[in-house]
Amino acid sequence: MKCVTCKGPAIIDIRRHNANFCTEHFLEQCRRQVGKAIDEFDMIRPGERALVAVSGGKDSLAVWDLLVELGHDVDGFTIGLGIGDYSSTSSTYARAFAEERGLRLLEVDLPATHGYDIPTGARAARRAPCSACGLSKRHLFDAVALEGGYDVLVTGHNLDDEAAVLFGNTLHWHTEYLGRQLPVLPARDGFPRKVKPLVRLTERETAAYCVVRGIDYQVEECPMASGNRHLGYKHALNEIERSSPGAKHSFYFGFLAKAAERFAAEADEDRAGLHPCPSCGAPTTSEVCAFCRLVERAGGARPDEGTGAVEVVLGPTRAAATAAAAVPPATASAATAIGAAS
């Protein structure tokens, strides 16, 4: 195989582009695709501060690396989820990445700060582990991005992630979710702007990017996620992709171009009635937000031992932060007392 650009020896074939790339031009291709996504969807503007949600897996480390390579001002934030060795190993990769590059990594340990880990908390709250995990991460990512004064929250969702979620939402016609399955969700109603710069890359490409860049990441699958529906959708889509290269891209980007807008009104309706949670200040349509209900139910399930991650304390809730709105963002961020690993 020869590189489509320089005709040198290729290291990877990307069938959906009908192209092979050498190391140099594969990296260039990844940077170009991420830059194109950022520009096309107006994700991050010059001079903005971004916070990337870091798991220690390939996608979050790849997007952090790519954004730094593209010249953006990006800190990382990782959560100790308390999923045994899996979580402690994942945190190790995140810390090593940050330390080797002199980047700032914020950390919160869920058992230490909120009194539960994902396995015991999910059982206590009678939620699926992935549901409790996703809810906890979304809440903390939003809170730390806002309290830290960041302009934008970055996640490592790639084309496979988006296509799989779209597949699931379409399969079950969750129309209220379809209208907000976008690469950018603008800041509104107490939520930070959220962006997904990897939507133009598959996870085979983000994994290859990490290998080529020498980025060590958590290769093992989360033990709580094994066999879940989301992974099943990914396998199904890859079977389609095998015989029809480009199918995932066509499915997701076709949805964005031709269908997403049709569901926007329903997504707006779903957001109607948002108000600050009386307990934590996060936006919710319920009396008390889902995260606070999870903490209330799961908090008593605190494990005997922590995960070994840095123990830190989140600062004032958003309700308190709003009351202290006169405080400049930099001061408010420092007041949250979020520990940095580097």
Binding site: M1, S131, D161, A207, V211, V219
Partner: protein, 64 residues
């Protein structure tokens, strides 16, 4: 060769191309990378009898 998730080791007679190896193992090329000595191996590369490679799955993630 080393296969991940779940982790196991297999021996396959060479020479064999990556494409044929994955077909023999019924592994979808869209779902894995093949790595030899820390470097990616292209699909048309031929593995010798004594080559050691890792077949690394790339699919990950819980429900969002």
């Amino acid at each position: 060769m080393l296969l991940r998730n779940p982790r196991r080791e297999l021996e396959v007679d060479g020479p064999i191309t990556i494409v044929n190896l994955l077909a023999r193992l019924d592994v979808n090329r869209e779902s894995v990378l093949v790595i030899r000595g820390g470097e990616l191996v292209a699909g048309d590369a031929t593995l010798a009898d004594d080559d050691e490679v890792e077949i690394r799955p790339v699919i990950s993630g819980g429900a969002q």
